[in-house]
Amino acid sequence: MAFVIGSRARTLLFGALVALGLLGVAVVAVRQPAGAGDYLAIWGLKARALSRSGTLSSLFRVDPAGLAAHPEYPPLWPATLAVFSSLAGPYDDLIVTLLWPLLALAASLLAMRATRAAAPEKILAGAALALLPYFRTPVYVGYAEALLVVLLLGALSEVDRNTPGAPFRLALFLALACLTKNEGLVASAVFIAVLVGARRFRTAGIAAALVLLVGILPWALYRRALLGPLALADFSVASFRPDKLVLAARAITAEAIVPSSLWLIGAAVLLLLAPATCRRRAAVLIGMLLYVGTLFLSFAFSSLDLAWHVRWSWDRLALVPIALIIPVLVEAAVECISTEGLSPSRTFTGATGVH
């Protein structure tokens, strides 16, 4: 593959970018205890409750009315924080910050694994992930999206591997994503829908079964047994109004699309220049649009002030589609820049090639 610079130099350069990204994430995360925003109100509060009481029901005790701690949220992230901290003793908001660079590293490695390109360009995908602003935003240290992104990148990296264990690993990643955040459920539904669309019924069936039996039912039943039926605090059927979508579109345009317009245009141009990548990765692109569309529609059910809701959440909601499109953008760049084009590669519909 003839690039501007040689393969070894690219490996070193992209590796240095990954190292720089991860170092920055580590410095921001571990220099002080987590203790702001949703970590304080939700994740750290629940992790501390779990760790100190040792019972899952303590997740509900801290905020039974659901004022801010969202009792309906699944328990995997607070449980992860609690277990990680317990390795070093009683719950400690400083110890758990060590998880942050580890999750950034895992996300970076999984982005590399999900990229269908030669080794140096895989590293470029990892570098882009490690340099994302989310991981280096101090207030987000301890938030659940980091684990969600790791799990969904894990699912993406399994989606077209033709090994006997791949459908089960994919299903497990999706089930764990459902146990991490409610967006994991949306992402799992999209993954399964796209698998069905690609006529990969066996993989879709395994994923649907594991998502339902591990990712959804146990937590839903446990929650219902202890709390009874609970309306989602931020969303409810009673709050549905179609015209909210207009307000949401305005808010998203002002908060997200206009400030990020150069990124969006750049990504679109890169994809337009790489038709082979777009064809090969059509399922991922369609899945991403479905995911973004579903999240957008969910704002019609918001029970909060919409402008505030969008401003408060859009960058974290956007993290999943951004992380999942990075491998595709790197592949598009390789298609355009390489003089030899991409080597034969697996496709989402199951054709195999060299990796």
Binding site: L17, G35, A41, R48, L50, R52, V62, A128
Partner: protein, 137 residues
């Protein structure tokens, strides 16, 4: 045509990474971050918690919460009384901080007379000798 496509893609990739690197520049001098890191990792648990983002701007409140957290059994819930005049946003902010420090205890809120202090914190349901357990700054 291929050369143009290649040049445009290269430009996009290089400028994209330049923008990512620009946004990834440190928010504080590295020496300041390392100094902060040393202080936190070398401090005892109480000092760490009191200086954490959760409590560092609320020293008196934080001290009362840490005292209560150490003194009260985990089975006991808590009652936080704040003055009626306090703005609802401020009340919710203090409730969240109290719930975080006292977790897994449930923090019951009350508005009204917190005495001469800006807040009052007591175990809830109150034990027979509730005054003995009451924590005020």
């Amino acid at each position: 045509m291929k050369t143009v496509r290649r040049a445009v893609a290269l430009l996009l990739v290089v400028s994209g990474f330049a923008a990512l690197l620009f946004r990834a520049r440190p928010d504080a001098p590295l020496s300041a971050s390392i100094s902060l890191m040393r202080k936190f990792w070398g401090a005892n648990e109480r000092t760490r918690r009191l200086n954490s983002p959760a409590l560092r701007e609320h020293t008196a409140f934080g001290l009362a919460l840490l005292d209560a957290d150490e003194a009260w059994p985990l089975q006991s819930d808590a009652r936080l009384c704040l003055p009626s005049a306090l703005a609802p946003g401020r009340v919710e902010d203090l409730r969240r901080r109290a719930a975080f420090v006292l977790s897994p205890r449930f923090v019951q809120m009350a508005r009204g007379d917190s005495g001469p202090a800006p807040f009052a914190l007591e175990p809830w349901p109150a034990p027979v000798s509730s005054k003995a357990s009451r924590v005020v700054p």
